[in-house]
Symmetry: C2
Subunit: 246 residues, 2 copies
DNA sequence: AAGTGGTCTAGACCACTCT
DNA sequence: GAGTGGTCTAGACCACTTG
């Protein structure tokens, strides 16, 4: 196996289960198991890595806590996916004041362009590299609620077109997994209150100057690689952003 | 011990470690160990409950993940507290665009009144029961950034006065633990964008109508009992609300 | 019945803190 | 050196799913 207790000078200690976790993440990253598929059983993995079941278990436990894997008793352990009913819209915190609140999608725009410096920096690209920009509305009962502006690295999303986006049922992140092999596993958001400018006011059908929630999201895939920069404007008259603090 | 595998009709199964966890939470709630104190060692608890160390371990692991306890290798396991440097402002997600961003507190008001119906309902009190209302500003480099309006049940916070609040160093939640034995362990927030009304505009020193982040927080103590309703108005010109999605 | 994840145990040893 | 939490093992048995 080649485990050891860490490097001579290094961060002093890396337990076996953490190393197993690293190997499993590398396999996910390499696409050895695809989104929604089962990974090998704990006993199989224990045999493969030459450790006990308990050690594999602890590695998988952490990955399940990180939402990288999903355990299902009696069935197996599966690669987490955004394309299933249960966790759909995992990253969307918008809730309606009343009602269930299913949202319709309306695509506004999808085009390729050169990344401006500010976007390139956050996505760790070079300024001028190709990127894809998608703009869309989310509507609740016909009324626009969210205006999204999504920036993606061009090299990872080569075949992305308006048609592909319109064909696909379910959230974008499901499409990104299935068609481009890009899994969003983590994101950070910066939230502010801003007045609607002319364009946002027109698209969201509110007066210019209406306070909107500005949600700037940077999403990461395996290895903390940033792969999406998204700016949402939320009209919070009959919806709110829900957050749980622990 | 009286463990068993659950009731005849009930939710079909309750593992030992979950029962241990329940007993430990009950002890916390009863005040057997106070905020910041050490609880007994894993071996002591295993002996007390008549189970193996591993079972106690799993119970404590979950409670540490829930931020109820803090493990410190070589020292022991401690009751989590809001009154220590490391996790200070655990529930405050406001970040400055640049700089470190230490905040000064300015108390505006602290008075007792009868709870209006809307507040009473959320705090599970009866309308007309006594409550305490605290209002305060948070300032960064002299400029007001947050206007908080805090509602607390009167019966739990009997001796709470302007003086006590002003004397105490550190976050309110530290005071609440030390003086009133009330631990906030979880909260949910509803966030909207709203225009500043006349009073908010005056206190936050912004023009009337300026978009503000409205953060409505309901905080819970052990047993999912709501014990604080807080409404914050955040001026997000040079600060933002930070959120991590997993 | 076979295979999966889930629980529980008992014991060994390691890493860290304090005295 | 003694006491604490942290890791790892091996094995038994339970709960759940599928054939």
């Amino acid at each position: 196996m080649g485990v050891g207790t860490g490097t001579i000078v290094g961060p002093s200690f890396s337990p076996l289960y953490a190393q197993i976790k690293g190997l499993l993440i590398a396999s996910l990253q390499a696409g050895e198991w695809k989104a929604g598929e089962a990974i090998p059983s704990e006993l199989d993995l224990a045999a493969r890595f030459g450790v006990s079941q308990g050690t594999v278990r602890k590695a998988i436990d952490e990955m399940a806590a990180d939402n990288l894997l999903v355990r299902r008793q009696g069935k197996g352990t599966f690669v987490a996916t955004h394309a299933e009913q249960k966790v759909q819209y995992r990253f969307l915190r918008l809730m309606p004041d009343e009602g269930s609140g299913s949202l319709e999608r309306q695509l506004l725009d999808c085009r390729r362009l050169r990344a401006p410096a500010s976007v390139a920096r956050q996505l760790q690209m070079r300024a001028g590299d190709q990127m894809v920009e998608v703009r869309r509305l989310l509507k609740a009962e016909g009324k626009p609620v969210v205006l999204d502006d999504i920036c993606l690295p061009g090299d990872l999303f080569k075949g992305l077109t308006t048609e592909r986006l319109n064909q696909y049922r379910g959230p974008f992140y499901g499409l990104f997994e299935a068609e481009f092999g890009v899994h969003m596993i983590r994101a950070q958001e910066k939230i502010r209150a801003l007045p609607a400018d002319a364009e946002a006011a027109r698209l969201l059908q509110v007066p210019v100057g209406t306070p909107l929630l500005s949600v700037e999201r940077l999403s990461f895939t395996y290895g903390d690689k940033p792969v999406e920069l998204r700016r949402g404007l939320y009209h919070t008259a009959s919806h709110f952003y829900r957050n749980e603090l622990n």
